[in-house]
């Protein structure tokens, strides 16, 4: 009866009822007979036991603190999956929305069912049918059906924001009330990874249509199935979320989650240290000091970014391959990691981030050999070196390693000066118009596979638009990249990637430097924090220890 009452009325209501009853009984039996005292005692025991029993069955884990204040250095741009793509926004959206497939929070390399409880590939692997989980609720109380899923996926596919990851997808189809099919242009081994992306988060169709009808921006009024629902969004200040009690995987332990905008990394680090914040993503200095604090914990993992030098291979001095090879021979990338990333990076020997599938740890890139570098310079007609301008985004993440590169290349007579510019100017001038000779930049693997970087930086279809801005075009490499996408055997794919790397090593349109590590600091009492290269932290499983 207690359980039925609790389910129908909620545990708070049941607690109130028993409190009232116990008071009523006390005053009814004021004379204090044994029977009366016994009844009161039973009621009082139930009064205390019911909430304890109820809460233990309801929550994933109890949390000593019910609010988590998470510092971010910029606010979300949009909470609509179809109009967002930046990492910080997706980190917040990860709490509000679910995707068909998700990563195991404890091991992000492992994919597990999300809103789809299972899936089936067709024989030709050009179709994937997803069978949806039953009884999943949206924040507005609606039950998820294939209509919502088809609506969400198709609108995201049609959006420009998803084009970087959606090359393989042709369209989606609704199969029946609880099944949706994804039809591919070609068999892709990456489709499950692609659908973990928050760009393909599932929204309530009714909520979107009602927002449109009311002239309200859905991006500021999200409605998903995630463990948290939005309560308030104070522009430029904080995004406040609250636990969704009807979450399909059980309610989260921490009730309130607030993403607080703290633009300055130094202020954020201090706020973390003095206990104002429980989590801060961007501590960019004094890692050893933060690690030494007892009340601060940290986790790290390899990121998905590849820092690299890019050459303009079609115009300018580096259109000569010998000079590009000379630069490759001149560099000591271990020193670049130490000086440019304070040691929190791993040297990359392939043109892919070290943490993704397709990176070959046994592949050898150029090792430093200053004699060979000078010989190549002489052969190309520059025995005394030359002056060159590196066009740079003026972010310290790029300038620090670039300064180490500058120092190393000086030893073979190549004198670098930097043309620093804002991100906007860099994307337009370098990425768009290709007005540059050389640059140092980073490319993120949007899907954790080498294809993501190889396509963007080397496929001839990606010329322009800030992607393949070196101007590299090699039909052989194009064919190999396309072939790797449709092969499912992992060893076969690795063999194809090896051929790609060998060709790129000879042509050197880019020089791989390193993959950065993602190091985050947080309140040591916060448990179940698992590292993730693109900040997909599942707050649902976290709790504060006493």
């Amino acid at each position: 009866m207690v359980g039925l009452l609790s389910t129908c009325l909620g545990f708070d209501a049941v607690e109130e009822i028993f409190a009232l009853l116990s008071v009523f009984v006390h005053y009814m039996f004021k004379e204090g007979s044994i029977v009366r005292k016994g009844i009161c005692s039973i009621l009082l025991v139930l009064f205390t036991l019911v909430p304890a029993l109820g809460e233990g069955a309801l929550l994933v884990k109890e949390s000593a603190k019910d609010s988590l204040l998470w510092g971010v250095n910029s606010e979300a741009s949009s909470l609509d999956p179809s109009t967002s793509k930046d990492t910080i926004t997706h980190m917040m959206m990860y709490q509000i929305y679910d995707a068909l497939v998700k990563e195991d929070p404890e091991d992000y390399a492992k994919l597990i069912p999300g809103l789809a409880e299972r899936w089936e590939f067709s024989d030709d692997r050009c179709e994937v049918t997803f069978y949806l989980r039953h009884g999943v609720k949206f924040h507005n109380g609606d039950t998820m059906t294939a209509d919502d899923v088809f609506f969400s996926l198709q609108r995201s596919l049609e959006s420009s924001y998803s084009s970087a990851i959606s090359g393989a997808i042709d369209h989606f189809e609704k199969v029946d009330e609880m099944a949706v099919k994804c039809v591919l242009k070609y068999p892709s081994s990456l489709i499950l990874d692609i659908l973990t992306n928050m760009t393909y988060g599932i929204v309530s169709k009714r909520a979107v249509e009602e927002a449109q009808a009311a002239g309200v921006d859905f991006a500021r009024n999200p409605c998903g199935t995630g463990a948290y629902k939005m309560v308030a969004w104070k522009s430029g200040d904080a995004l406040s979320l609250e636990r969704f009690d009807d979450y399909y995987d059980g309610p989260a332990a921490i009730k309130n989650l607030t993403y607080k905008v703290v633009p300055d990394p130094a202020s954020g680090a201090i706020a973390l240290e003095n206990g104002t914040l429980d989590f801060y993503l961007v501590v960019t200095s004094d890692y050893n000091y933060m690690k030494g604090l007892d009340h601060i914990a940290w986790v790290k993992c390899p990121g998905v970014g590849l820092y690299h030098i890019t050459f303009n291979v079609t115009q300018g001095i580096f259109s000569d391959k010998r000079l590009r090879q000379a630069v490759a021979y001149a560099l000591n990338r271990d020193d670049i990691v130490l000086g440019g990333a304070e040691g929190y990076a791993e040297v990359a020997d392939c043109l892919a981030p070290t943490s993704v599938f397709g990176y070959l740890s046994d592949f050898e890139w150029y090792r430093q050999d200053l004699d060979k570098a000078k010989a190549l310079l002489a052969e190309a007609g520059y025995p005394n070196g030359f002056d060159v301008v590196f066009s740079m985004h003026d972010d310290s993440d790029y300038m620090k390693p670039a300064e180490v590169v500058q120092d190393q290349l000086r030893k073979i007579g190549i004198n670098i000066t930097f043309d620093k510019m804002s991100r906007a100017a860099f994307l337009e001038n370098v990425g768009g118009k290709r007005n540059f000779v050389a640059s140092l930049r980073m490319v993120n693997a949007t899907v954790r596979d080498a294809d993501s970087v190889l396509t963007r930086r080397f496929h001839s279809k990606m010329l322009g638009g800030g992607n393949n801005y070196s101007g590299y075009s090699n039909p052989e490499v194009d064919a190999l990249i396309e072939q790797a996408r449709v092969v499912f055997d992992k060893e076969d794919r690795r063999a194809i990637y090896r051929k790609v790397y060998e060709t790129l090593r000879e042509d050197v349109p880019l020089i791989p430097l390193f993959t950065n590590e993602i190091l985050v600091f947080f309140n040591a009492k916060l448990k179940n924090v698992y590292p993730h290269p693109v900040y997909r932290y599942a707050v649902h499983g976290m709790y504060f220890d006493k």
Binding site: S74, P263, S267, T276
Partner: protein
């Protein structure tokens, strides 16, 4: 007087129009493609071009400027490229924090800077005077960012007395206001000292002392009143600097004000937001300058007799 105020208010309009043209030109000439900033890296070339067309970025410069002014006159300052929120709505949320910060820091500067400046002038060449000059030199030389960080390290981290970021209560504004008031306080201190030194050497001040007036009446009743004119000007000018300085302070203390909004808009090439933010800042500075001019009229009896008395005579006739 009323006519003077109305005339000055009307004159704000061509000033704002001029500012709008200058800032529209600068933002549009600055490198950066809003479409690339919105879609980020990874989108296709044709998608960037389609978005540019949709946003009207391919229209001629003067067509875009004319449309902007026409819409702005109807209260429509456009939508943010980044968030798609109406710009006016965003600024209306953020402006109170910045104005609050600028007003509070100016008040702190006046409350501390004026008395210390007076003391320094009255006790010229003493240890107090030298200390005041030293303090003003330090406050002027110190970068706002550094001073703000030092305050946080001392009061938030070491002493745990005040919060280091946020806007939840009045306590959250103490450190930001102090940080933002430093340079204004230094300017006021020096200006007050300088004008007071000039005034206390005047004959009428010597006469007041000779007549047996109390020193406090000589200093505050006769000298300070006459020394205030340039000081009021400095307050007005520095209020504009306080608004600008708030950009740095807002970043450090995570205050969601106009300064932070402007910085993010510039970085994201969010043209409508940048233009509107600058316009609103220009309007505030223009209004402050007007207030300073009006205060001038009431402080200086010579101006008062010209504007107030003349106005009264005109009203009577």
């Amino acid at each position: 007087m009323f006519g003077y105020i109305v005339k000055r208010l009307v004159m704000i309009f061509p000033v704002i129009l001029g500012v709008s043209f200058i800032i529209f030109t600068i933002v549009n000439l600055a490198p950066g493609d809003p479409a690339m900033m919105i879609l980020g890296e990874g989108a296709k070339q044709e998608e960037y071009e389609a978005l540019r067309e949709e946003m009207g970025l391919n229209d001629p410069f003067f067509v875009r400027y004319f449309h902007y002014v026409a819409d702005a006159l109807q209260g429509n300052f456009g939508k943010s490229y980044r968030t798609n929120i109406p710009v006016f709505q965003e600024i209306a949320c953020r402006l109170p924090y910045t104005v609050n910060l600028a007003v509070t820091s100016t008040l702190i500067a006046i409350i501390l800077g004026l008395p210390i400046g007076v003391l320094s002038a009255v006790k010229q060449y003493t240890a107090s005077d030298n200390a005041a000059i030293g303090v003003s030199l330090v406050l002027t030389s110190m970068p706002d960012f550094w001073f703000a960080m030092m305050l946080i390290l001392l009061f938030s981290l070491k002493l745990r007395l005040l919060p280091s970021l946020g806007v939840e209560s009045w306590r959250h504004f103490i450190l930001p206001a102090i940080a933002n008031s430093a340079s204004t306080m230094a300017s006021l201190l020096r200006m007050t000292r300088s004008t007071m030194l000039e005034v206390i050497r005047q004959d009428y001040v010597r006469t007041a002392r000779a007549k047996g007036a109390k020193e406090s009446r000589v200093v505050f009743g006769h000298s300070l009143r006459n020394a205030l004119l340039p000081v009021v000007t400095v307050i007005g000018v520095n209020f504009g600097f306080s608004l600008g300085g708030a950009i740095v302070v807002e970043q450090v203390f995570a205050i969601p004000g106009l300064g932070q909004l402007m910085v993010n808009a510039i970085r994201a090439k969010d043209t409508p937001m940048v233009i509107a933010s600058v316009l609103f800042a220009a309007i505030i500075v223009s209004v402050i300058n007007l207030i300073v001019d009006i205060v001038y009229v009431y402080i200086d009896p010579r101006l008062k007799s010209r504007y107030v008395t003349v106005g009264a005579k005109r009203a009577m006739s």
